[in-house]
């Protein structure tokens, strides 16, 4: 596939890395440069004695650099990538040097192993040790469940208090009124519900409909609590959804052990949300043939922990995906990737707003804990109305946009008053546009 400067810069872990990367995006700054069809490499004289050796696997993309930076990809990798994109003629060497070739071979070997499910060489073979480990794990699980039970019991007391004394007394409550129960849930290892409670801080300032919004949230918390008391009676898939909503995680190995679903997965949108401590990247995909949605999450707790950069909005990958257990499977992992390419045209799944609405209804019916979904429209027109920006389909159905003015105008300009293909996130109330196909090009918004 061919990359653009914008796509490369989107890989930067933060703005300062992007800038430093740009600073190195000049062929003259590099000692050697080279590229072949699947990789690029270069050496850069930094402040160290030895020049840094930087390699890129274009198939990922994946990066390796001998510099001491803890950012990933580092500025050298970004700079090298930019040189490749902007001055391809400068990539003089044609055969990868040993340090690049070895790294590439190592990577490809690992991927094959992952795909072929070859067990790790260091997996425990002693059956006795296995039994003991399993027993310890079961003890840990039981203790955590007991903690969650106690935490949810406490949450219930708080919730019922809210409803008994009435929401009218809530405006003006200090922040800790909301953050204390949230913190208690964190202690109880119910981080998913803790997040929902902490989000309520400030709810009374959110316009005249705040009591309805609060009741909605309180009701779902109550639902989680009630569900937990009788979780064994629920269908397996519903159990998984409830556990995920509470904050239990499923091990990736377990998920990856399943058979993958192969399709041409269109990466329709990607968004990074920053919290005080955590950056969460949501990447939304749709299967071109199966029409199924998938959500790949990546988390970063700091510059040393990079977000996954292997999925780029606007590209399509021929890959096998595996889904986390759910009544309406959505969250997924890439199990094996065959090929990435830049599609020539958009084939997003939702032809009308009604179709998208039905899709959301189906999701929510199966899993009430879903907080947001991606829609990928084939043809909607952005329109500006006095009260808000809308997108509208042929039938005149509309969704209210959640976008800053700047972004809304850019979208309006891209469309020029005609239908465009548009992908974004739906949170049940508003649609946040993230990427568009207009006049044969994909653009991040």
């Amino acid at each position: 596939m061919s990359w653009t400067v914008e796509q490369v810069l989107a890989l930067a872990p933060d703005a300062s890395s992007a800038n430093s990367g740009r600073g190195l995006a000049a062929a003259r700054k590099w000692e050697t440069l080279g590229a072949d069809a699947t990789s690029a490499w270069g050496t850069f004289q930094g402040s160290g004695k030895q020049p840094y050796q930087t390699s890129i696997d274009l198939g990922g993309p994946a990066f390796k650099c001998s510099c001491p930076s803890r950012k990933f990809p580092c500025k050298h990798a970004l700079g090298l990538f930019l040189v490749l994109v902007q001055q391809p003629g400068a990539m003089a060497e044609k055969a990868p040097p040993a340090w690049t070739a070895e790294w590439l071979a190592g990577r490809r070997g690992k991927e094959e192993k992952k795909a072929g499910n070859v067990p790790d060489a260091d997996s425990p073979e002693d059956p006795q040790a296995g039994v003991e480990a399993a027993a310890a794990a079961a003890r840990r699980a039981a203790s955590r469940e007991a903690k969650v039970t106690a935490g949810l019991e406490e949450l219930g007391v708080w919730l019922y208090d809210l409803v008994r004394s009435g929401f009218a007394v809530l405006p003006g409550k200090p922040s800790r009124f909301w953050t204390t129960p949230a913190a208690r849930l964190v202690d109880a290892q119910a981080s998913g519900l803790a997040r929902r409670v902490s989000r309520l801080d400030g709810v009374t300032t959110l316009g005249e409909h705040w009591p309805a919004r609060l009741l909605w949230e309180a009701a779902l918390l109550h639902l989680a609590r009630e569900g937990w008391t009788r979780i064994t009676a629920l269908p397996k898939a519903a159990q998984a959804d409830l556990r995920a909503a509470i904050g239990f995680t499923t091990s990736q190995e377990e998920v990856l052990a399943q058979d993958g679903l192969r399709d041409h997965w269109m990466v329709v949108a990607q968004v990074i949300e920053e919290d005080e401590r955590l950056r969460t990247q949501r990447t939304w995909l749709f299967g071109a043939n199966t029409r199924r949605p998938a959500l790949c999450l990546s988390f970063s707790a700091g510059p040393a922990q990079p977000l996954d950069v292997s999925l780029t909005a606007g590209t399509t990958l021929d890959a096998e995906l595996v889904f986390f257990p759910s009544a309406w499977p959505l969250r997924a992992l890439v199990k094996h990737r065959h090929e990435t390419r830049q599609p020539a045209a958009c084939q997003w799944p939702h032809r009308t707003i009604t179709e998208a609405n039905d899709f959301a209804a189906e999701a929510l019916t199966a899993n009430p804990w879903i907080e947001r979904l991606a829609f990928g429209f084939t043809a909607v027109v952005p329109v500006r109305r006095s009260e808000a920006w809308l997108i509208r389909d042929e039938a005149g159905h509309a969704l209210v946009l959640d976008a800053p003015e700047e972004k809304a105008w850019r979208l309006c300009s891209l469309a020029g008053g005609r239908p465009v293909s548009l992908a974004g996130e739906w949170n049940g109330e508003r649609f946040s546009p993230l990427g568009a196909w207009a006049e044969g090009r994909f653009l991040r918004l």
Binding site: T4, V5, E6, R22, G23, A26, R28, Q86, L159, Y160, L162, V163, R164, S165, G166, F167, A168, V169, P211, A212, L214, L215, W216, A218, A219, L220, H222, L223, E226, I353, T354, N357, A360, A361, L364, T365, P368, V381, V383, R384, R385, L390, R392, H397, A398, L399, V400, E406, W409, R410, C412, S413, L414, G416, G417, R418, G428, A438, E439, L443
Partner: protein, 513 residues
């Protein structure tokens, strides 16, 4: 049963408000017996959960019945290439924004349009930078005009109209000033009329600033208004008006100044010596009488009465008078060339005063012939302000030739003259670009601490001839002791020249078919 009804109960609290449920709702009626009825608050939350999920699932999209806006018409020109587009987006995001004007110029020359994703930012740019408006309009195509019609912030793109004049009557000071400046470019007469309309109500402090906008497209038509402003209470206003009138060669103010000044100067032609040495050779000279007084009329015409800049009061009056009197009138009256005047003025007692007055006149009157004639004298006096002004008055080729002489490796004071480079605001020729490059390379091997020069490197990068952009990377004194100081400036300079090289390549390279 609806979430809204339950919300009413929750707002007051179940302690105060009973829970009366009508089992008319089929789904809830069926499910209600299954809900633990033990406590009212739990029942309320259970019902709310059912309603929340049901209402979430059952939500219908809104209907938008208003007519759709007319779509934008198709473009008549092709879009700029992807590399050109990528560079534009980088500049609009803040990187090397000072090169935006060049992108716009290149795109317009190539007949290419900016792609739709850049249009809102380009239209925004036209607000704080009216000087770019014309070139922005050339690249935004029909889509840009279509877009601008929908956003009052971008009204400028659809031409200054009567509607825009509201900005003049109701806007804030900065907006009014920007509006007046841009209107003065497109419709100078209307701009002056608008200013005259509100003149009496303007704050004294604003008058001088607004009046200054008449500098653009100044014509004899403006004289009457300016002449009236000479009687203003505020000194800044009078000064501005006088300065503008002095730039109108036929104005009454200039005529008055000529009448005052002409009797004070006399050109005495030289006489060749005779072979028999009965008569000595006498060089041409200028006989000068200083004015006696600075009367009210002179003050009204903008003459500052006090002594200034190391000149006595009378000498300073004369300098200010010389500044206004049309230079060509001296050569015409005396039937000599500017070079003759220079030669005659430089021998006598008043050499310094005449040089100061006439070079000021050169600057104000933008007289290239006189500028060139006075240049050597200004160099000899090492008077940077005069040099700068004289260079500004010259045509680009002449300016480059004169400054190139001062920047040569043989010139002892080249470092000093380096400060003049920044004042050469035209697009440099390849030869002159190489002269400046050579100068930069030499200077960056010298003392550190020349912030003035280092900070200008970036400006130089924007003026270099495109042909020279590929020659900038090599030849820097990277081994010198002071390199650490210079390298930052040079790195920025190289980044900017490389950016410009990419910019030119993006518009000249044939796109792959």
């Amino acid at each position: 049963m609806k979430l809204a009804e339950l919300t009413q109960i929750a707002l007051l609290g179940t302690d105060r408000q009973g829970l009366s449920l009508s089992p008319t709702d089929s789904l809830l009626g069926r499910l209600q017996p299954q809900l633990a009825p033990a406590r009212r608050e739990r029942l309320l939350l259970s019902l709310a959960a059912l309603c929340a999920v049901r209402e979430g699932v059952g939500q219908l999209p809104v209907q938008d019945r208003a007519p759709l806006p007319e779509p934008s018409p198709g473009e008549h020109l092709p879009y700029a290439s992807e590399p050109a587009n990528a560079l534009l987006l980088r500049m609009l995001a803040g990187e090397l924004g000072e090169l935006l004007a060049e992108w716009l110029r290149l795109a317009a020359a190539a007949g290419r349009l900016a792609r739709p994703e850049s249009l809102p930012d380009l239209l925004d740019t036209g607000n704080p930078k009216p000087e770019l408006r014309e070139s922005i309009l050339a690249v935004i195509g029909r889509r840009g005009l279509w877009l601008a019609r929908q956003n009052p912030d971008w009204a400028w793109a659809n031409g200054a109209t009567g509607h825009e004049e509201d900005a003049w009557h109701t806007g804030e000071r900065a907006l009014r000033l920007a509006f007046l400046r841009s209107l003065r470019k497109s419709n100078p007469r209307r701009a002056r009329e608008l200013l005259a309309e509100t003149w009496e109500e303007e704050l004294p402090a604003d008058r001088a600033v607004f009046l200054g906008t008449l500098e653009e497209a100044l014509t004899p038509e403006d004289e009457e208004f300016l002449e009236a402003a000479l009687g203003d209470k505020r000194k800044e206003v009078r000064k501005t008006a006088a300065a503008l009138l002095a730039r109108l060669p036929g104005s009454k103010l200039v005529e008055r100044m000529v009448a005052r000044t002409k009797p004070l100067l006399r050109f005495l032609p030289g006489t060749p010596g005779s072979v028999l040495k009965l008569k000595k050779t006498r060089r041409a000279s200028i006989e000068l009488t200083l004015p006696d007084e600075c009367d009210q009329a002179m003050k009204r015409d903008g003459i500052e009465p006090g002594a200034r800049q190391g000149f006595g009061a009378k000498a300073w009056w004369l300098i200010q008078m010389l500044e206004v009197v049309p230079l060509d009138s001296w050569t015409r009256d005396w039937q000599v060339s500017p070079a003759d005047v220079v030669a005659a003025s430089q021998g006598g007692d008043w050499a310094r005063e005449l040089l100061e007055g006439w070079t000021r006149a050169v600057v104000r009157q933008q007289n290239a012939a006189w500028a060139d004639a006075f240049f050597p004298a200004a160099v000899a006096a090492r008077h940077l302000d005069l040099l700068q002004g004289s260079l500004a008055a010259m045509a680009p080729a002449q300016r480059e030739a004169r400054l190139a002489g001062l920047l040569s490796p043989k010139e002892e004071h080249a470092g000093l003259y380096g400060r003049l480079i920044g004042h050469c605001r035209h697009d440099w020729s390849p030869d002159f670009s190489r002269v400046v490059l050579g100068f930069m390379r030499r200077e960056s091997g010298r003392d550190s601490g020349n912030w003035l020069l280092r900070n200008q490197f970036n400006t130089f990068a924007g003026r270099l001839a495109p042909e020279v952009l590929s020659e900038t990377a090599q030849g820097w004194p990277t081994d010198s002791k002071t390199w650490e100081f210079w390298s930052k400036g040079v790195d920025e300079f190289l980044a900017a020249t490389q950016f410009r090289a990419e910019l030119h390549a993006a518009f000249t390279k044939r796109p792959p078919s």
